[in-house]
Symmetry: D4
Subunit: 256 residues, 8 copies
C-alpha cells in the first residue's frame, strides 16, 4: 500500500468517516482477492508496479489456472499467462475464456482494451533453438505496451550476421539478448549499444552446458558494461525488464 | 564503428579524397590506443556506448595501471578505475596523477570537466557489511552523471526499516539493491516499485553461502518481476546499468 | 532401549526370574518386527521418540508397502505413509486396508483411535505450486496431534498478503514456511514471530533454481534468527519438527 | 509493528490525540535507531520476536562495531555480539564498554540485569575440533536464558560414548547437535530423543568435505525424523532455535 | 601380459622355436577376442586379476550383449552381466543362452562349473529401497565365490536393529554397507568391526540428496577408519572388492 | 568478410563501379541467407573457415530442419546435419531430399560432388557404449575429407588391447579419443603419440559420473601434454578439430 | 561393547557378584577416557577394531594434542598422530613426550613395544608432488604392522615406468594408489593386479581440478574392478584400509 | 617403447646377441632415469612424442627441482620448467645451472643447442590480466620451435580491436586464445579462421566466475567449430598443442 492511500485512510479515520475497526480491516485485507483457498491475487500490483499480476502456469493444475484467469478477467485491464501448455490453452478455450494462445511463446494473452505501443525494444537471439524463449520475451514486452523488433539467429560465430542490424539495435531503448551455448552474444551486443542489455541464458545446449549454467555464468561475467541477467529460459523476465526501461523513456519523451 | 562514420569514409574514397590503402588502414586500426604492448584502449567506446572505457584494476600491475590511466587522461573526458587497492592509489598520487581515491568504494575517480547530475538512482543495501559493494555502485552511477540516494542496512528481517523509505524508492528511475546472506531484499523492493531493480549479490556470508552463490541464485529466481542481476560483488555493474536506465529517462525528460 | 527397561531386565536377571541366555536374546532382538526379509520395523520408536515409524513409500514396491502397513496396523496406534502414488493407494484400498488417501499431500493416514488435537502449528506457503509440499506438512502435523492453520499463496512480492495474517502467525507455537523460487518468505516470517520457523524449500522453479537448491541456500543463509531448514520438498519433516515443538508446549500448558 | 500498537495509534488519531502527519511519521520511522549512516538497529525486535537484535561482527569495521554496541547498550536489555575477533574485543575493552569476551565461542556478552535460566538445552558435538561452533551455540542459548548441558566429543565411530549420556539428552527440551566430517551424529541422536534436534554442520574436515557441504547434505537427508538444520558453522543459529523451543516449554511449565 | 609368459615367449624366440615376426604378432594381439567390430573382450583378465571380464549392459544394444555373452561363454569359466533389463534377459532366454536372471539385482549369471564358496562377506543395507544395490553386491560376491550374509533395513535411526547383528558382522572378512539418505551407516559399522568396510552410496533420496551425492560425501568423510567407497549405486563394485579381500583370506586359511 | 574482398569492394567504389549506397548494403547483408524468419545461414563460412555451416538438429522442429537443409543444398558444396533423430531423417527422405542417414552417428550426410580423402585421423574409443559419439566423430572427419581409422573398445583396464594398435596411432596426424567412465584413455594415448589428441568425454556412466563431468575433468587435467578437450558427447567437435589439423598437414604434404 | 563382555557382565549380575546399579554404571561409562572436558578417548577401540584410536591433529590446539597424546601413552600400545605441523611436533618434543616426527608424512609415531611387520602393502604414487600423501599412507600401514614397498612417480603418461614394477605389485596383498591430476593411475594398476586397490585422490593440480575433485570422480568411476576410494589427500585412510586387508591375509597365512 | 625398438631387441635375442635375462631387464627398466627416490624421468618421451619431459614445479621442493633439472640437463636436448616461482629461479641461478627465467611466464628455459623456428602460432588474449597465461603459452611454443605472434588485450566488448589483426590470424597454423571473464573470445576467433583454435580459460574474474569455471564452460560450449579447450590457466598446454599442430604442418611444408 503506497503512501497517498494510507494518508487518505488516516484522514478518514480522523474525520470520523471511518471507525478504527473498519480501518484496521482495510489495512489488513484490502488489496487481495482470494481464489479457491489456493491463491491470493495481488490486485494492488498494477497501481504499485505498473502492470497487473501475471500467471506463471507451470506447477498449477488446469482447474487452478481457469479459476485464476477468471478472477483476473474481472479485476485487471489485461491478462498474461506464461509457460502454458497447449492442453491447458485448449481447456481455457473450451471454457469460453477470451484470449489468444501464442504457441511458440507458450503464452495466453488477453490484451488491454486500449493497447499501448510506444518506444522500441529489440529482442535478439543467437540460434533457431532459442526461439521459444525469445518469443516469450517479445510477447511479454508487446503485451505490456512496447514496440518490438525481432532479430533472430545472429550468433557470434558469424559476426557479420549481427553487425548488419546495428542500426536497429541503436534505436532501441533496451535490448533483450537471448542465447544458449556459450552465451557470448550479450557481450558483443553490449559493446555496440548505449542502452541497457538484458541477457537471457537458455537451456539450449548439452554436456557441460548443465541446463543453461554455461551461458548464465558467461553473461554474469560479461566484459561489456551495462549487461544484467535474468534466470535461464526466463524470456518473460527479460521482456518485462526491457519494457520497464523502454516505458519510462517513452513516457518521458511523450511528455516532451 | 558505427554507420555514419563508415558512410563518410566510403564517400571520401568515392571522391578520391582517400585512397584505398589509407582507407583500409583506417578501417583496421583507427579507434584503438595501444599501451605498452599489454593493453588496447577502446577509445571509440564513449561514442558507441555513451561512456569511456573503465579500468578494472584487479590482476594488473601498478605499472600497467599508471600507464593506462595516463593514456586515458589524454583521450577521455573522465576516468573511473575500480577495485583499486589503497597501495595502488598511493602510487598514482605519488606519480602526480589527478583524481580522488574513495576508499570504501575502492575507486579512483577523475571527474569530467562538466559533470552531469540528473535523474535519480537509489542504492539500497541489506546490511552494514555490504557497504563496499553499495558504495562502488553509488560512485559509479554518480561519476557517470546520476543523482544517487543511499538507503543502507534495511534487510528483510525488520521490514519496517525498508518500508519507511518507500517514497524515496518511488522517485528513482532505477534502483540498485545490494544484498548478501539470503539475497531476499530485491524481491521485496521489486514488489514495491515500478522502475527496474538491478540486484547485486554480495559475498557477505559464510558456510552454505559459497561466496555469494546463495544470494545470486535467490535473485535470479526472484518472484518479483522486473529484477535483473549482475555478478557477485559487482557494484560497478549495478551502478552502470542503473545509470544507463536513468540517463535515458533524464535525457528524454530534459528534452521535454 | 531406554534406561528403565534396561534396569528392569537387569533386576529380573538378578532375581533369577530371567536367565542370562534369555536376557541376551531380549537385548539383541526385542524391539524389532521383521517383515518379509526386506524390512525391520522399529516398533520401539513410539516409546523412544513419541511417534511410531512412518512409511516413506518412494522406492518401495506395492507388495512391500502393503506388507509393511499391515504389520504396522497390528503394532502401532496410528499409521502415516508419505509419498504414496495414487496407484499404490488404490492397491491398499483393494486389499481392504483401513485408512484414507489425501491426494494433494500424497499421504495415506490411519488415524489413532483417540486422536489428539492441541496447540497451533501454522503452515504458510509462498505460491499455489507449493501446495503439495505444504499439505504434506499440514497432514503430518495434524495426524500427529496438532491443530493446523493453513495460510497459502502469500509470497514476498506482495507483502500485504502476508501481513494480513500476522495475528494467526503469532498464536502458533511453530510455523512451517514452504517456499520455492528464491525462498525469501521464511526470512520475512522469521522477522515477525517469536516462535521457531521451520523452512521447507521446494523444487518449484526452473533454470538456476537447480531443483530447489536456490531456496535451500537462501533459507540456510536467512538473516532472520530462529529459522531452521529441512530438505527440499520435505513437507513431512517440516510438519514433524513443528509438531514436536508444539506438542511439548501444549503438553506443558495442559499440565498447568 | 504488531496489531495492538497499530490499534492504539489509530485510536489516538480517531480521538484527535494525534494528528495524521504525526501518525504518518510514527508509522514510517518509529522502531528504528539509525547509527552513523551505516546501520539501522531494529529496536522493535525484542517485542516482536522475544530477543533484541544481535551483532554479527564479520565484515564490519571495529569503529562500526563500537558504535553499534554503544547504541544497543542504551536501548536493549542485553547485548550479544558473535564472530568477534580477539582484536575487536580488545578494542571494546579499551573503549571501556561493559561485557565479557568468551574466546572459544568468539562472542561478546553483556548479560541482562535480570538473567533468566530455565528449561534445558543440550549441546552435543562430535569432535574436539567442533568446539568453537558448539560453544557459540551454548553461549547463545545461555545468554538468551536457557540452562545448557554440554556433551562433547561423542562421535558415532564409538557409539558407547554417546549412549552413556542418554539420560541427559532425554531431559532436554531441544538438542543442538554439532558435527563436521560426515555429519552422522544428528541422525543417531534424533533416533534417541523425543524433542527436536537442531543440527549444525561444521567446516571441520578436508578434501571432499567442501567446507562443510558433506555434513550439511547428510543432515538435510537425515533418516531420523525431527531433525532440522542451520547453516554451516552457525552455532548462533542452533543455539537460538533451541532456546526458542525451550523457552516456550519452560514458560508454559512455569505457568502451570 | 605378466612376466612368466613374457619369459617363455622370449625363450621360444631364443630357441628358434618362434620367429620374431610371429612373436611380434603374439605380443600385439594375443589376449584379446574381438567381437563384431564393437568390442574387444579381455580374455587375459582372469589370469591377471583373478576373475573374467564382466559385462556392464547399460548403454549396449541387445544385439551387442547377445554377441558378447556368446563369445564369453566359449572362453570364460563363468559369466556375470550387470545392469541388465528384464527385456534384455528375455532376449537372452529366447536366444537359448544358458544362465539365470536375478531380477532385483538386475544380473544375469552363468555360474562356473565348479562353483567356489568360502569365507564370509556381509552385505548390510540401511533401508528397503536400497535392496537392488545390495542384491547386486550380494550376487556379485557369491558368483565370484564368497559366502554372503544379508542384513537389510538396519538404518541408524533405530540403532538396536543393527546392534543385534554384531556377531554376524564380526565373522565376516569384509562388509559391504549400502546406504542412501545421509549415508551414516558405514561410519557406525566401521566403528564395530575390525575388517574393511566397503561403503556403497545409493541414489535413494530426494532434494538435496542430488542423486546420491549426499551419502557419497558422507562416506568419503567417515570418521571411522577402514571405510573405503565405491561409486553411487555400484553394488557390483562393492561386492567385487569385498570378494577380493575375502578370497585372499579364505585362500590363506585354506592353505593352513 | 576477409581482407581481399574488402579491398576489391573499396576499389570498385574508388573506380566508381559501385556507388556508396550499394557498397554499404553489400557490407551489411551480403554473406547471409535468411530462412523463414528463424535462421540466418552463414553462407560465407566455407570461404572463411574451410567448411560450410553444419546443422545441429537438437531443439529445431522438423519444418525448420527441412527448410534449412533445402537452403543449404542450393548454396553449399556438401551438407552435414548432426544429432538428427530417425524420425526427422524419415521426414527428410519423405520430402525427397538427397542424402544418407547414418543411424549410430545420428548424422545426415550429403557428400560433396568431389569428395576429398587425404591424411589419416584415428578415432579411438574406450567402450562399446561410447560408439554413438565415436561414430559422430568419424563421420564428421570423413565427410570433411579425412581418411579415418576406427579403434574401438580399448579401455585402460586391459592396456594390451590399446598397445596392439600403436602402429596405426602413430600414422595419424590427429587422434580423437572418446571415453566415458573415468576418462583415462586420452592420457595413455597422449603418452604414446607425437600428434595432437582431441579428447571427447562421454556421458556414459552413472552415479558420481554426473553426466560426463567425471571424464571431462579428468581430460582437462591430463598429465599427458598435447591433449585438448571438447564438450561432453561432442563427437562432431572432436572430428572437426582432428580434420582441421589433418587437412593442413595433408595439404602441405600434397604440395610437396 | 562386544557380546562376550556383555555375557560376562550379565553372569556376574546373575551370580550376585555385581549389583544392578554397578552393572548399569559399567554399561554406561566403561570404555571411555575423558580428557579435559574436550575429548572422550575411545579406549575400547583396539579390542573392537584391531587398532587404537588415532589423533587427527588438524583443528586441535597444541594444548589439546599434548593432553590427548599423554592420555593415550598411558592406555594404548602405540600412538599415531596425523596432520601434525612441525610446530606442534616441536611442542611435543619440548614436553618430553616420546615418539618420532616424520616430516613429509606429517605424522608423530610412538611405535608399539613389540612392533609387527608381516605381509606386503604396496604404495604407488603418480607424481613427485603426491609424496606427502603417499608417505602418510606408508607410515600408517607400517606403524600398524605391514611391510611397505614404495613405488613413486610412475604416472600414466609414461606407462613403461609403472610396468617395470609389475612383479612387486603382484606380491602385495593390497595396493594403495595415490594420484592427483586426472587420477588415471588406479584404473591402470587395477587392471594389472588381483588384490584390492585403495585409490587416494590428491589435491595436486589446478584449475578444473577443484582441489582434488577431478581425480576423486575419476577414481569413483574407474573402469577397473576392485578399486575403492578414500577421501582426497586421505593417505591415512588408504594406508589403514590396506593394512586391514593385508593383516587378515598375513594372519591367516601365519596360522597355516 | 615403440615397435622398431622392440623388433631390434627381439632380433638380437633371436641372434643370440642378447640373452633373455638381459632382454627382460631392458624391457623393464630401460627408458627411465630415477632421481633421488622421488622422481622417474621419462627419458624415452622425446623419441615417442617429439618433445622431452617438462618439469611442472608447483608442489615440488626446491631441492627436488634442482635435482630433476640437473638430471635433465645431462639427458635432454633442452629443458622447460613451468610454474616456477622467482625464489626457485634464484636458487637455480645460485646453483650455477644454465638457463633463463622468464618472469611473466613463470618459466625456466634452457634452449636446445640448435633451436628450431618454423611455422606460425598466434597467441591471442582478451585482457591485460591474462598476460601470465598467454606468456606461458607463447614461451612454450617458441621453446618447442614455433614462431609466435602475440596479439594481446583484444576482448569482445570492442570487436574492432580484434578485427584489425585478421591477417595475422589467418597466417597461423594454430591459434591459442586465452581469456578469462566470460570466455567469449575463442568463439569469435573460431568464426574468423580456418585453422584449429586452442582455447585457454583463465582464472581472471571474480564472483560467479568460480576460479575460471565460467570461461571454461563457455569455451566447451563454443558455437564455433574447431575450438578445443585445455585446463584453466594452462598456458603450457595451449602452447604445446598449438606447437604440435604447427610443427606437423611446417615439417610437411619443409619437405615440399
Amino acid at each position: 500500500m503506497d503512501e497517498p492511500q494510507l494518508r487518505r485512510l488516516l484522514e478518514a479515520v480522523a474525520d470520523g468517516a471511518l471507525d478504527t475497526a473498519a480501518a484496521l480491516e482495510q489495512l489488513r485485507r484490502w488489496p487481495i482477492t482470494q481464489v479457491g483457498g489456493f491463491a491470493h491475487i495481488d490486485t494492488h500490483r498494477d497501481l504499485r508496479t505498473g502492470f497487473p499480476e501475471v500467471v506463471y502456469c507451470a506447477g498449477k493444475t488446469d482447474d487452478q489456472i481457469v479459476a485464476i484467469v477468471q478472477a483476473m478477467l474481472e479485476r485487471q485491464r489485461c491478462v498474461l499467462a506464461t509457460r502454458m501448455s497447449a492442453a491447458t490453452a485448449a481447456r481455457l478455450s473450451a471454457e469460453g475464456l477470451p484470449g489468444e494462445y501464442l504457441a511458440t511463446a507458450r503464452c495466453w494473452v488477453v490484451p488491454a482494451a486500449e493497447p499501448r505501443s510506444a518506444g522500441l525494444v529489440a529482442v535478439v537471439c543467437a540460434g533457431t533453438s532459442d526461439l521459444p524463449v525469445a518469443e516469450e520475451a517479445a510477447v511479454t514486452a508487446s503485451t505490456m505496451g512496447s514496440r518490438v523488433e525481432r532479430i533472430y539467429d545472429v550468433g557470434v560465430a558469424g559476426l557479420h550476421r549481427l553487425l548488419g542490424y546495428a542500426e536497429a539495435l541503436q534505436q532501441a531503448h533496451a535490448v533483450v539478448v537471448v542465447a544458449g551455448m556459450e552465451g557470448a552474444l550479450p557481450s558483443v551486443v553490449g559493446g555496440l549499444v548505449a542502452c541497457p542489455v538484458i541477457a537471457v541464458p537458455t537451456s539450449v545446449g548439452y554436456g557441460a552446458h548443465f541446463g543453461g549454467l554455461a551461458p548464465l555464468l558467461a553473461m554474469l561475467n560479461s566484459c561489456a558494461s551495462g549487461v544484467s541477467v535474468v534466470n535461464i529460459d526466463n524470456g518473460f523476465g527479460g521482456g518485462y525488464c526491457a519494457h520497464q526501461i523502454n516505458w519510462q523513456v517513452a513516457q518521458a519523451k511523450g511528455a516532451a
